[in-house]
């Protein structure tokens, strides 16, 4: 089997500009989304993800026109998420030129939207974004894990990582698969912005719980973090933002490094 592992640059977009936050806070300007998309596409990115982090009502038109502009300059798949609350939001994004739409809060609030979207647009368009944080307050009916002899469970957060939901991430992952999601975009809130590596344990547990592709996100600070997550889990794709934005590592260099170390990638 030669299906390759995907390397996915992520662009967090606020008011039409790419920004990068840390722990879902402190925002820094990182460039023009259309130019960055074109650059990453040329460098061999396997896919792109755009997350509209403003996502207020008046921003819907901005994101639609941005999606159109991006679709014109790239010839690889791209996912758009952020503030998708209902069918109409998702439809707007897909009809503007995105291949997949990522839903987070909208799906937790109204899980029925997953099946509805799948029935109209097909499963491949429906990505469920999960923001997950370790919770050390042990409760019943949760999947309990141990790390450094501390017990915890994985909790789903919504509203850009601000609001805990009490939902067990393992159970939620299974539920979104059952309802018709085509992919899970899994972000560790604990690791996001730290540049210390992915939450490998979280990713492993979610990957083992479902039979749909999973994208690892949150914490990538250098190429070895991507290598680790690919070698230690059966994850399908790894997403990163800051390592690509600030020219520390180009997409093609990272992919060459992965290939040299035994990860099948498209080069």
């Amino acid at each position: 089997m030669t299906l390759t592992k995907r390397v996915i640059p992520c662009l967090d977009v606020d008011n039409g500009r790419v920004v990068k936050g840390m722990h879902f806070k402190s925002i820094k300007d990182a460039g023009d989304p259309v130019l960055l998309a074109e650059k990453y596409s040329k460098e061999g990115a396997d896919e792109l993800v755009f997350l509209d982090i403003t996502a207020s009502e008046q921003q819907r038109e901005t994101i639609k026109s941005l999606v159109q502009k991006v679709a014109q300059v790239i010839d690889i798949p791209f996912t758009v998420g952020g503030g998708v609350k209902n069918l109409q939001d998702a439809r707007d994004i897909l009809l503007s030129g995105a291949d997949k739409v990522a839903i987070n809060t909208g799906a937790v609030k109204n899980p029925g939207i997953i099946t509805k979207l799948m029935e109209i647009f097909g499963k491949q368009c429906v990505v469920i974004a999960m923001d997950v944080k370790r919770n050390y307050e042990i409760k019943e009916n949760r999947h309990i894990f141990t790390s450094d002899s501390k017990k915890f469970w994985f909790e789903v957060y919504i509203y850009g990582g601000k609001t805990p939901t009490d939902l067990d991430a393992i159970e939620w992952a299974k539920e979104v698969e059952r309802r018709g999601a085509g992919e899970i975009l899994l972000t560790s809130i604990d690791m996001d912005g730290t540049k210390e590596g992915y939450d490998v344990q979280l990713i492993k547990e979610i990957v083992n719980a479902v039979n749909i592709p999973v994208v690892a996100s949150g914490g990538c600070g250098k190429p070895i973090h991507m290598l680790d997550v690919f070698l230690q889990t059966n994850v399908d794709a790894a997403l990163a933002a800051s390592i690509f934005h600030y020219k520390t590592h180009s997409v093609d260099r990272v992919k060459e490094y992965l290939k040299e170390n035994g990860v099948p990638v498209r080069l």
Partner: protein
């Protein structure tokens, strides 16, 4: 300039396909029925949506579509678009367009479904659509079903996902790809160009 039409089932991104055709110097219209097909020298069935709703949107055009194929107007079906060429699909309950014998079946669940990402092509025979495309080229797949043509001779390339997935089919002027050429970077663009060349003839 060659003029082609994309059939819109109203269910997804056809913008990327349109811009890929335009980059290869085609003039592109989006259509929702086949009444004015005589104005175009080729038709594309895009690869987005779900089997039954897509078939429904084509239903009144079914006979017109079959005539088109008989008259050798070039057609390119992408992913779901190709799956609809066949008699039936496990994704839906409605009959397909039936211009090719065979059916569409779910991928085996020993691997993740959908089969999503870049996989390589194993080219079985020379063809018009893959002219200039190298063995082992990477293309972007995202699908849960595969086609099973009665006549296996029409399969011109496979891809390996635990089983052989028919990746490209070609039967006279009828072309199909299970992957998305419009999302497959430069390699995909070669195929779009090849299809447009057939349309010009």
């Amino acid at each position: 300039m060659v003029k082609v039409a994309i059939f819109d089932y109203g269910a997804g991104n056809i913008f990327s396909l349109k811009s890929s055709l335009e980059k290869n110097e085609a003039q592109v219209d989006i259509i929702t029925n086949l009444e004015k097909m005589k104005n175009y020298s080729g038709l594309l069935l895009p690869g987005v949506g779900n089997f039954d709703p897509a078939i429904k949107s084509l239903n009144t055009s079914k006979v017109a579509f079959q005539d088109l194929v008989k008259n050798q107007i070039p057609v390119l079906g992408i992913c779901l678009g190709m799956e609809m060429f066949f008699e039936k699909s496990e994704e839906g309950t409605l009959g397909g367009l039936g211009v090719l014998d065979g059916e569409v079946i779910l991928l085996p669940n020993k691997f993740k479904i959908p089969h999503m990402g870049w996989n390589d092509l194993q080219i079985k025979k020379p063809s018009v659509l893959l002219d200039g495309v190298k063995e082992g080229s990477w293309v972007y797949f995202v699908h849960s079903y595969r086609v099973k043509p009665k006549n296996e001779e029409i399969i011109i390339a496979d891809s390996d996902y635990g089983i052989n997935v028919p990746a490209v089919i070609e039967n006279q002027t009828l072309f199909g790809t299970q992957f998305h050429p419009e999302k497959s970077s430069k390699v995909g663009s070669i195929m779009i160009k090849n299809f447009l060349r057939v349309c010009k003839k």
